[in-house]
């Protein structure tokens, strides 16, 4: 997980020739088939409900918990922790990446220390953080912040450090100010890599939060799952897992949306020229 933090930047999609409706439906084929098979297996009694409850039972459980207000409450507290943690961690990662990417002094001063701390798995800090901060909100938010800071930091630094020096030379020889060099060349050049870091951080964000909520919380989706486990409430356990999958997918889609919006110049190709 640590080693693959810097992905290559997203590739430009190739134009495909299939019919659009079919192409749009294709990614859904497998999940829908799995759910149908699962439901079939449960209905025919191949799958005992003590091993795996049927999808329909899980949906019913979800509706009940939504109507009782339990699910919305836990979901919103988890979303709150995730968002605040990501904003703090991502913000710090961006800031450190920017100053270390643009100033040699800062980089020499800070980078090796940050790299050292990065190598500690942040989940190993859970006992320490609980001892320091107890099991209140700040503990969970801090953990998410620590977890999300590093991928954003590393990709921001990497993005800034690998800006084409030829473009920088051009900017300087065309008399751009330091501020303009950053705003018009360095930042846009680093942006694809920064977004890769943020997308990676989103994954870390959910994992961290789930672990933290499972180990020490009195609310949140992770707590809901642990609590259900105590009562051998299979439906709710599976529901929580499904919710994680959906949350992960939604944050990925949001990140992709940002990429498409901010990197439109990457996807506009010659075929669309005026």
């Amino acid at each position: 997980m640590q080693k693959s933090m810097t992905y290559s930047t997203p590739a430009v999609p190739r134009p495909h020739r299939q019919r659009p409706a079919l192409t749009a439906a294709l990614p859904f084929l497998l999940p829908v088939a799995v759910v149908l098979l699962w439901q079939l297996g449960s209905s025919l009694g191949w799958l005992s409900s003590s091993v795996l409850p049927s999808p329909w039972a899980v949906v019913k459980d979800g509706v009940t918990l939504t109507l009782s207000g339990e699910l919305p409450k836990n979901l919103s507290i988890s979303l709150y922790r995730a968002t605040v943690g990501l904003l703090i961690g991502g913000g710090l990662g961006l800031f450190l990446g920017f100053i270390n990417g643009t100033s040699r002094i800062c980089r020499l001063l800070l980078d090796s220390s940050i790299q050292m701390i990065r190598n500690i798995p942040h989940l190993a800090l859970i006992p320490l953080i609980i001892l320091w901060l107890g099991i209140n909100e700040s503990a969970k938010i801090s953990l998410v912040a620590i977890g999300t800071m590093f991928p954003v930091y590393i990709n921001t630094l990497n993005g800034i450090r690998s800006v084409d020096p030829d473009l920088l030379e051009m900017g300087r020889s065309y008399n751009l100010s330091r501020h303009d060099l950053f705003k018009k060349i360095i930042f846009p050049a680093a942006l694809p890599q920064i977004l890769v870091g943020i997308r990676y951080a989103l994954g870390v964000m959910w994992t961290t939060l789930i672990v933290a909520e499972t180990l020490s919380a009195s609310s949140g989706i992770g707590y809901m799952a642990t609590n259900a486990e105590d009562y051998v409430d299979m439906e709710t356990v599976v529901l929580c897992i499904v919710i994680y999958a959906i949350l992960g997918k939604v944050s990925d889609l949001v990140a992709k949306g940002f990429e498409a919006l901010l990197l439109d110049w990457q996807t506009t190709k010659r075929s669309e020229a005026a």
Binding site: D166, L167, E169, M170, R172, S173, Y174, N175, L176, D180, K184, I185, P188, A189, L191, L263, W265, Q266, T268, K269, R270, E272, A273, A274
Partner: protein
């Protein structure tokens, strides 16, 4: 626009560690002149251009503008690089104005795009353009702040013969019309002979020889003669050295 300055290159040398890229370069370039630098690869042409552009500092010697230092004369110099060096995240028009919000800058950009016949592509991204179109954008960008001195480092190297010929004519007409001092680095002696008032042969890390351009640049035979002369100097002036190099290889 202020008067275009005369460029005096005085005993300029440039060394990279132990490697000598240039030594004893003495050259005066007059206002409005179109000079071509030709020579073998590795001969120091780009280095000389980069020194004039202030992208690098000479190891010794000096470069003066109207007999003044660069700081005092503050010449407006623009480089058109071998690669287009356009910013892929900005549209063609933004590449000229650097996203300036100033109305005058924008108007100038629109005007220059028309000059290089790319008005239709103002809102396209560089990724949507052909190689020749990109070089035209780069040329327009170089002209944006009314340069007095235009430095061209093999800007046409990657273009096909036809596009190349058209670009040569475009550059020539613009440089004449705006009375810029232009220094063009090229491998192509015929290109040099067609375009330049003066052809300077760079060899053995210095400006070894020079030729006046043909009196009539439209006379293909005259162009050919000048090009052939330049080529002979580049190839044969020091045949013994080449022979030595060959024998030391075997």
């Amino acid at each position: 626009m202020t008067q275009v300055p005369e460029i005096t290159i005085h005993q300029v040398a440039k060394r990279y560690q132990t490697l000598t890229a240039l030594t004893g370069v003495d050259l005066t370039i007059f206002p409005g002149e179109f000079v071509a630098l030709v020579g073998m690869s590795g001969g120091g042409k780009s280095t000389l251009l980069r020194l004039i552009a202030d992208l690098e500092q000479p190891t010794s010697g000096q470069i003066l503008f109207d007999h003044q230092s660069r700081e005092a004369a503050a010449p407006v110099i623009r480089v058109m690089f071998q690669e287009d060096r356009l910013l892929p995240w900005m549209t063609v028009l933004e590449n000229l104005s650097f996203k300036s919000t100033d109305a005058k800058t924008k108007a100038a950009a629109v005007q220059l795009l028309a000059l290089v016949e790319l008005s239709d592509y103002a809102d396209a991204y560089p990724g949507q353009l052909s190689g020749g179109q990109k070089q035209r954008v780069a040329l327009a960008r170089a002209l944006m702040s009314h340069p007095q001195i235009l430095l061209l480092d093999e800007p046409l190297g990657a273009l096909d013969a036809l596009t190349r010929r058209k670009m040569q004519d475009l550059i020539l007409s613009i440089c004449r019309q705006q009375q810029l001092t232009t220094i063009l680095v090229t491998h192509d002696v015929t290109e040099a002979a067609r375009m330049a008032n003066r052809i300077v042969v760079m060899k053995d890390h210095t400006n070894l020889a020079e030729f006046p351009g043909p009196r009539n640049p439209h006379d293909a035979r005259a162009v050919g003669t000048v090009a052939e002369d330049a080529l002979q100097v580049i190839l044969h002036e020091t045949p013994t050295q080449t022979a030595q190099e060959l024998s030391s290889v075997s």
